[in-house]
C-alpha cells in the first residue's frame, strides 16, 4: 500500500514528482487495466451492472497479464481486444476534443477516433512485464447525477500497489461502456483534452491529426524496439 499511497510523504523532494509519476506509471498500468472493461464474455451476459462489467474485464486482463509463457505481443493483442469491446472510443474522442469537435469534418472525426484508439493501445500496452503480480479489486460503485456510473478499484500487489483507478461508465444500447479512466484522481479524458486544446486552437484538426499520427509511429517503433530487447525471438510479431 505504501508506495502507491504516499505521494507526498516528503514535502521536500520528489513529492510532486511522485504524484505525477504515479499518474504516469499507474497510468500505464491502468491503461493496461484500464484497457480492461468488459470483454467479449461480458457482452454475452445481458444486463450486467457496470460494476460487473468492470470486474469481469479486469479479471480477464489480469489473468492475461500474469500469464507466463505467451509472448508479450500476443498478450497485448488479447488485452486490446478486451478493451476495444468495452471502451466507447466515439464518446471518448468527442469528450477529449470537446467544443472544437463541431468543426471537425466527418472524415476528421473518424480519423481522430481511429488514431486516438491506436494511441491508447500503444501507449498503454507497452512493457506489460511491469504489471507482473498485479491484482485489482473493485471497491465501490458510485451513481453519478446524470446516469453514468463510476466504478472504483484499487491495485493490490506489484509495483503499483494501492493505486486507485476508476472507470467512468455510460450505459449505451443496453450495455455499459467506459468513457473515461481516472487514475489517482487524474482523468485521462481531461489530461488529453488539456494537451490537445492548444494544438487544435492553433493548427486545427489537421494539425492535431498529423501530430497524433506521428506520435503513433514513434510509439510503434518503440514497441518494436522493446520487443527486440525483451523477447529475442518474438513469435510472428512484426506485421
Amino acid at each position: 500500500m505504501e508506495r502507491a499511497s504516499k505521494g507526498n510523504g516528503d514535502p521536500g523532494n520528489g513529492g510532486t514528482d511522485r504524484s505525477v509519476v504515479r499518474f504516469a506509471q499507474v497510468g500505464c498500468l491502468l491503461a493496461a487495466l484500464l484497457v480492461p472493461p468488459g470483454a467479449a464474455q461480458a457482452a454475452d451476459a445481458p444486463a450486467n451492472s457496470a460494476r460487473e462489467v468492470v470486474e469481469e474485464a479486469l479479471s480477464q486482463v489480469i489473468e492475461i497479464l500474469n500469464e507466463s509463457g505467451s509472448s508479450e505481443d500476443s498478450r497485448r493483442d488479447r488485452i486490446a481486444d478486451i478493451a476495444y469491446a468495452r471502451f466507447d472510443f466515439d464518446t471518448m474522442s468527442k469528450l477529449v476534443i470537446a467544443r472544437p469537435w463541431r468543426k471537425f469534418t466527418k472524415e476528421q472525426r473518424s480519423d481522430f477516433i481511429a488514431e486516438f484508439k491506436t494511441h491508447l493501445a500503444r501507449s498503454y500496452g507497452r512493457r506489460l512485464s511491469r504489471y507482473e503480480g498485479v491484482n485489482v479489486k473493485v471497491t465501490s460503485e458510485v451513481k453519478e447525477q446524470r446516469g453514468d456510473v463510476t466504478v472504483n478499484s484499487q491495485v493490490v500487489g506489484g509495483q503499483f500497489d494501492g493505486a486507485v483507478m476508476s472507470y467512468r461508465m455510460r450505459g449505451k444500447t443496453g450495455q455499459w461502456l467506459v468513457i473515461d479512466v481516472i487514475i489517482e484522481g487524474v482523468s485521462l479524458v481531461s489530461n488529453f483534452r488539456s494537451q490537445f486544446k492548444p494544438i487544435v486552437a492553433q493548427g486545427g484538426a489537421d494539425e492535431l491529426l498529423s501530430r497524433l499520427k506521428d506520435k503513433n509511429d514513434v510509439l510503434r517503433a518503440e514497441i518494436e524496439e522493446d520487443e527486440s530487447v525483451t523477447t529475442p525471438v518474438s513469435d510472428g510479431s512484426g506485421s
Binding site: K6, D17, R18, A24, K94
Partner: protein
C-alpha cells in the same frame, strides 16, 4: 549555514509565497504564470536529463529493487510525524491516531521504517501535507507554480512545503548538511524508482508541460476531496480544473452532431 538560519530563510520564502497567494487570487485561469512556469519547467527538465536521471540510472543499476523500496519506506516513515500533525490540523483525529500507531509500529517492528510492516498488515497510509491542510481550511490553490527542483506546485502548496519543512523535527537536531543529504538521497531514490515511467511519459506526451500540470492539479484536487481515500471530506469543495458537467456532458451538443455532419468545411 546552521539549521536555524536556513529555517528562517525558508520561513521568509513561505511568507513571500503567501503574499503571492494574495496576488494570485486576482488573476484568472489555472496558470496565469505559464510563460515563467514553462521556463522553470525547462530548467528542471534540463537538470533532470543532464544530472538527476543519469545518476538515478546508476543508482538503479547498483541498488537492488528491494533496497530502493526499503529506503523509500524509510524516508516515508521519517516524514510521518509531519503528516500526523497535518491529520490533526485537518480535524481528522481518528486518522491522526491511526497514523501515529502506524509510525510507531514501522519505526520499531519495521526496523526504523525500512520495512513497511503496517502496509503488509493491510493498514494503508494516506499522505498528508500542509498544502492539503490549507485546502481543507478553504484556502484556494492560487496560480499553478513550477518550482525549481521541486517541480509542479501551486502557490498554496508552496506555502505548504515551507511550513512542512519548518515543522519537520529532525532539522533542529541534525546539521543542515545531513538534512540536505537526506533529501537529496530521497529525491534520487524516488527518481530511480520511476525511471521508466518518467521516460515513457515524456515520450508519449504531446506537451509534457501540460501533461504534468493537468496530472498534478487533478491529483491534488482528488486528494483534497478525499475521493482517493474513500473518506470524502465534508465541506471541501473540489477545486477541480473542470466541472464534471464540462468534462462529461455534451448532450445538447450530441443531438446537433447528428445533423451537422456536413459542417462548415474544416480548416
Amino acid at each position: 549555514m546552521r539549521g536555524t538560519g536556513s529555517r528562517r530563510r525558508r520561513a521568509a520564502i513561505a511568507g513571500s509565497a503567501l503574499w503571492l497567494l494574495g496576488a494570485g487570487c486576482a488573476s484568472d485561469g489555472p496558470d496565469p504564470w505559464e510563460p515563467m512556469n514553462r521556463g522553470l519547467f525547462a530548467f528542471n527538465e534540463a537538470a533532470d536529463q543532464y544530472l538527476l536521471e543519469p545518476v538515478a540510472k546508476g543508482w538503479d543499476f547498483v541498488l537492488p529493487d528491494f533496497a530502493q523500496t526499503g529506503l523509500d519506506n524509510f524516508f516515508t516513515n521519517l516524514g510521518a510525524p509531519v503528516e500526523i500533525l497535518n491529520n490533526f490540523l485537518q480535524g481528522e483525529i481518528k486518522e491522526g491516531y491511526l497514523h501515529t500507531w502506524r509510525f510507531l509500529l514501522n519505526s520499531t517492528a519495521g526496523v526504523a521504517g525500512f520495512v513497511d510492516v503496517a502496509s503488509m498488515a493491510g493498514w494503508p497510509s494516506y499522505p498528508e501535507d500542509f498544502g492539503l491542510t490549507l485546502g481543507t481550511w478553504g484556502v484556494p490553490n492560487g496560480p499553478y507554480l513550477v518550482l525549481p527542483i521541486f517541480g509542479a506546485s501551486t502557490v498554496r502548496d508552496t506555502v505548504g512545503i515551507g511550513v512542512d519543512a519548518v515543522a519537520t523535527p529532525y532539522g533542529y537536531f541534525v546539521p543542515i548538511y545531513v538534512t540536505v543529504a537526506a533529501r537529496a538521497t530521497d529525491l534520487l531514490n524516488t527518481r530511480a524508482i520511476f525511471i521508466e515511467e518518467i521516460a515513457q511519459s515524456r515520450e508519449e506526451a504531446f506537451d509534457f508541460y501540460v501533461f504534468v500540470r493537468s496530472a498534478y492539479l487533478q491529483n491534488r484536487a482528488a486528494r483534497l476531496s478525499g475521493t482517493l481515500t474513500g473518506r470524502a471530506r465534508q465541506g471541501v469543495v473540489t477545486p477541480s480544473t473542470e466541472s464534471e458537467e464540462d468534462l462529461y456532458y455534451f448532450d445538447d451538443f450530441d443531438d446537433e452532431l447528428e445533423e451537422e455532419e456536413d459542417e462548415p468545411p474544416g480548416d
